[in-house]
């Protein structure tokens, strides 16, 4: 199972550093294969994400891709949200937390699939018409 754990880490790192939701990969692995509680799986992912995010942000910031002015209000709001979210998680309990996460994944999955399908349906048209504005 160690090889699987290393692979789960690798895949999460790749997808997470791209901002594509790598956390979901590790949590799913922890919850399906290691039978961790939802809250523990989430906690492991938070710890796991920190070094990855630090490296990614350093690389992106060096390339001047981070727009600090834009993201600071989002971070301020986010800090307040963290406390609400953690309180909420404790209140609803582990079983419902897992179900809520399942629902969240379904929502994201459907959204990404629709976006991708749209993108590939649009593509052939795009070259034929001149973009307005």
């Amino acid at each position: 199972m160690t090889v699987a754990a290393l692979l789960a880490g690798l895949l999460s790192g790749i997808i997470g550093s791209m901002g594509l939701g790598g956390g979901t990969v590790l949590i799913i692995y922890l919850s399906f294969f290691k039978h961790e509680k939802q809250i523990t799986a989430g906690g492991i992912n938070l710890l796991f994400f920190i070094p990855i995010a630090i490296i990614s942000v350093i690389i992106y910031a060096k390339a001047k891709d981070i727009k600090w002015k834009l993201i600071i209000p989002i971070i301020i709001g986010g800090i307040i949200g963290c406390f609400i979210g953690i309180f909420l998680g404790k209140t609803i309990g582990n079983v419902w937390l897992a179900k809520a996460f399942g629902g969240f994944l379904c929502f994201l999955g459907v959204k990404e699939i629709i976006n991708t399908v749209k993108l590939y349906l649009k593509k052939p048209k795009k070259s034929g018409i001149i973009k307005k504005e």
Partner: protein, 122 residues
């Protein structure tokens, strides 16, 4: 600060709160809220994804500290995943600087839907 600026800043703080809430609740997924918001603020897909990582980093640090204090998780649960995770981060940042992972997003969407249904049915 003019009215328009005030309005966008309020929306940013509000949706930031939702991002933080999701991330604190699930320990993941905040980026999925932050990316569309950042795109709405004029960033392209790639830059939105990069900036989302920068948004989530401080939120993950704060959430992780609370999780550790409350005893939901400990370092020894997490460290085995970190070395390959860090390696993955180097690979991922490289990939993102070369190509825009549009198809990858669709495939990953299918995976999320499958896992979501399994979690709901459990």
């Amino acid at each position: 600060m003019n009215k328009e600026k005030l309005k966008t800043t309020s929306i940013d703080i509000g949706l930031g709160a939702v991002t933080g809430m999701v991330n604190g609740l699930f320990g993941a997924g905040g980026g999925m809220i932050a990316v569309p918001l950042l795109k709405k603020r004029g960033l392209n897909q790639k830059d939105a994804q990069k900036n989302a990582v920068a948004v989530i980093l401080p939120l993950a640090v704060i959430s992780a500290v609370i999780y550790l204090i409350k005893g939901y998780v400990s370092f020894k649960d997490a460290y085995i995943y970190m070395p390959t995770g860090v390696l993955g981060a180097f690979i991922g940042t490289k990939i993102l600087s070369i190509l825009s992972p549009k198809l990858l997003k669709g495939i990953f969407g299918g995976f999320m839907l499958y896992a979501g249904i399994r979690l709901l049915l459990r």
